[in-house]
Symmetry: C2
Subunit: 512 residues, 2 copies
């Protein structure tokens, strides 16, 4: 195989004539040239990544009769999706109809653009909005179950969000994995890493170089650069390759290049494999890097446990919707608890400051009665959420000036009654009259954790990866989910990753 070469992109015959057809060159050269490659395995489709996007693409492509190989770098399938909070925004959904919630594609776009500072790629957003209900159906076909009530998440004008019955993305990933495993034309390979693209003469992506038996090194500073394990295989993908490798929150180098203010050792909700090597390899093909410097903190985590933990879903569902967040020093609220993630995280970091003055998220029993009991049980068991008989006890535990806290609670309860928060503009008209008044009370210390990279590759409405030079798709290359950029603009709204991943996974599977 010593005659394998990189694609020789500049046409040298043309060059020697003095005039060059550079405008016709449609791709960069950074893929192995197919000529000379002896394939170890052949499939119709190779999917890189096994989270929501990869599984939706796999099932969709397989069900139209294609032979699909899914590769997953880690030992465990499911990527970040399997540890995700299981919140899934669906536009014009059955539950919205049942609950009498009026939604529309326009309203969804309005909410997304507000959080995204108008930087969102609306061509992609419209596809997600139009097909999120299809994505929901796919998960239900695979066996996913949802909590009966909709959630109302920060930044959404209305309740729009399904929650899996397990209160985790695993509630979608596990059924989809089981479903995919039963399909005879699907091969799932874990511990298998993508290394390179293979292209044919025309520049079409027709395969990948992978390493099987890859052992991800949890202790490496930079696994991607340092890790040399695994056996090289050349894999043909007759119809093309679908990138579903997610974002890069755990890529300390790439994220610090985008935002040097992110501490090297800060906590994140992401799994260790969430690094950027697939994105970067696609950029070498000439793919467009879109909005890679927008990196999101999730405002609902706890400094008293690692990662997403048990506090996040409790705060998302109970305290931020039905309760308040206060500064321990003042006993006062300082933000709209249902603002988008960026706005809340910035406000919280202002309070946390240099002396780690973590704000306290507070709600009452009426709030807890509204949410799935499992969430509360888990959060109490882990010790990050604490229960108090009175506001006095809560204030004492967190050293909050109690008189100020009571004033704050009284004012907030007034806003709930008046259905208008004149102080911070929280949409209290949607909290169903729940105040902070029915004992016991629940408190949890809050901290934002690195959660999501908004940036990545640019795709069109067929999930094809766009090339900067040609403004057209790179033939044979598709992408879905967190690997893409621009869809969420400056800040992704909660529960909008699952529909993004699933819808574009489906679209990629349909179009490949």
């Amino acid at each position: 195989m010593a005659d394998i070469t990189r694609r020789n992109f500049v046409k040298l015959g043309a060059l020697s004539a003095g005039m060059v057809a550079l405008g016709e060159n449609t791709l960069s050269a950074s893929a192995l040239e197919q000529k000379g490659v002896k394939y170890d395995q052949e499939y119709d489709v190779v999917v890189i990544g096994s989270g929501f996007a990869g599984l939706a693409a796999t099932i969709t492509a397989a069900e139209k009769g294609l032979k699909v190989c899914v590769i997953e770098k880690m030992g465990r399938f499911g990527g970040n999706s399997i540890i995700n909070g299981g919140l899934f925004a669906v536009v014009n959904s059955p539950k919205q109809k049942a609950e009498g919630v009026q939604d529309s594609i326009e309203l969804y776009l309005k909410d997304m653009l507000k959080a995204g500072l108008n930087m969102n790629h609306t061509d992609n957003l419209k596809v997600i909005a139009a097909r999120s209900a299809d994505a929901l159906k796919l998960t239900e076909k695979c066996g996913a179950k949802y909590y009966e009530k909709l959630s109302h998440l920060g930044g959404h004008s209305i309740p729009r969000t399904y929650l899996t019955s397990t209160a985790s993305g695993a509630g979608i990933v596990q059924p989809m994995l089981s479903y995919a495993e039963k399909l005879s034309n699907v091969i799932l390979k874990n511990r298998t890493k993508f290394d390179d693209f293979i292209a044919d003469d025309s520049g079409r992506i027709v395969g990948v170089v992978i390493r099987e038996d890859y052992k991800f090194d949890m202790k490496a500073l930079d696994d991607n650069a340092e890790n040399k394990t695994g056996d090289i295989k050349y894999i043909k993908a007759r119809k093309g390759v679908i990138l579903a490798s997610g974002g890069f929150c755990r890529d300390t180098f790439l994220r610090s290049m985008q935002d040097p203010s992110i501490p090297l050792e800060c906590d994140t909700t992401n799994q260790p494999g969430a690094t950027g090597e697939v994105i970067m390899k696609a950029l070498e093909l000439g793919a467009v890097p879109v909005q890679m410097s927008w990196i999101q903190w999730g405002p609902w985590a706890s400094p008293d446990e690692k990662g997403f933990g048990t506090a996040s879903n409790f705060n998302i569902n109970a305290t931020f919707r039905y309760g308040i967040t206060v500064d321990t020093k003042t006993g006062k609220r300082f933000m709209n608890e249902l603002a988008d993630r960026r706005v809340r995280s910035l406000a919280m970091f202002d309070v946390i400051g240099k002396d780690q003055n973590y704000p306290i998220n507070i709600c009452d029993q009426a709030a807890v009665d509204k949410i799935i009991p499992d969430l509360t049980a888990k959060a109490l068991a882990s010790g990050v959420v604490k229960k108090f008989n009175t506001l006095d006890e809560l204030a004492a535990a967190y050293k909050i000036p109690v008189a100020e806290l009571k004033k704050t609670v009284e004012a907030y309860n007034g806003y709930v009654t008046a259905k208008k928060d004149t102080e911070f503009g929280k949409p209290v008209q949607g909290v169903e009259g729940v105040q902070v008044s029915k004992p016991p009370f629940y408190g949890t210390r809050g901290v934002p954790k690195l959660h999501y990279t908004m940036g990545g590759l640019k795709i069109n409405d067929k999930a094809q990866v766009i090339c900067t030079k040609t403004k057209k798709p790179i033939p044979g290359l598709f992408a879905a989910g967190g690997v893409n950029g621009g869809i969420h603009g400056a800040s992704r709204l909660g529960s909008c990753s699952i529909p993004d991943c699933l819808v574009f996974g489906i679209v990629a599977g349909e179009n490949i």
Copy 2:
């Protein structure tokens, strides 16, 4: 030359052994392989671009004895630099000493980080701060002249800014160009376009493919993709290549990928050649894309002329420093006229809204007496700045409620007297007591125009381009000026591009 190939980066000998040395691969394959290339011309250094950065690199490299070839895509040398406003922030400068202004590297960083939302790459910033006075000296050696007084620009805590005697970047570019032309070891080629990199076996960049006699097509929607003019030449660069090709404000595709809210037809202060093809080609080598979605509007332009025009420097020097900006509908101020560009542009767009309600920048004769007379003469001659005997006349001309305007002026004058703007926090202590009170009065309609792309490539303190995969320099590849990213974070302060370009041009020239 039909045997020229792309560098075959993956070591295939190693591959066939089953274990692969991918971790040792230091570069992507997207450069022509030197083997087989017959060079048409040979130099020590090739510099791509002929603005501040390119010229500083050229003169520095040439003066240490290297043979330098500068290529410039356009017919005219000087890029954006030659139409730049000629404002040059120098830290710890001779004029600061003369005027008794206390500056420091720390204060400069503080100002830059505030405007940059803490996203700035401080490793680069420190180099600029430490060497901006060296850069000033280089320009003076070449014959550049400066207006005698320092300017105090928006976002700077103190006066720090030199203004060329011609009130334009041409006041630096022309002398540097003349100086470079006289050096016997410098070749300047206009109408010459960079197309590709050439690398040797080790991955070092050792040359470029260019097209001579390139005819930039002003009418093309996308000159870079469509234009096939020019004669291909293979150029050896024994010591390496310096990228000084600037930012991409005129690249409608790339900028809309980063921020789709930017209107396709919006006006910009940039020259037509300010497109992103060199940045994108470096990304194909594996260079890091840094903060490419931060694109800046300049708040000081006029809707009544094209481009940077004559109003911009008048507003920068006179109205924003010594005057006020008001909403015609209310007669009221709505921003700190010396806030950074991002803050001011957002505030102005809020006022402009959908009905093109352009705000009015206002100052008086005392302000005009403070600035270089040429600026006022040019701005009056072009008709974009208008002179009025009274505030009543000014209010009538722009349809501002006159009583409100007078109240606004009175309040502002009070802030100047008190040396504290309690309304918008403008640092009026630095306006030398100039109020809006001495007739005649000057008015100009204001609009932000697309001005600067903060993003681009990552360089280290030696101006070497960093590779994502290795975290190390790409051998033989240097970059300076607008082609780089991260230095200015979310928003570049005014007058900080010239020192960035010149300092890293010098550093690249020193280190190549």
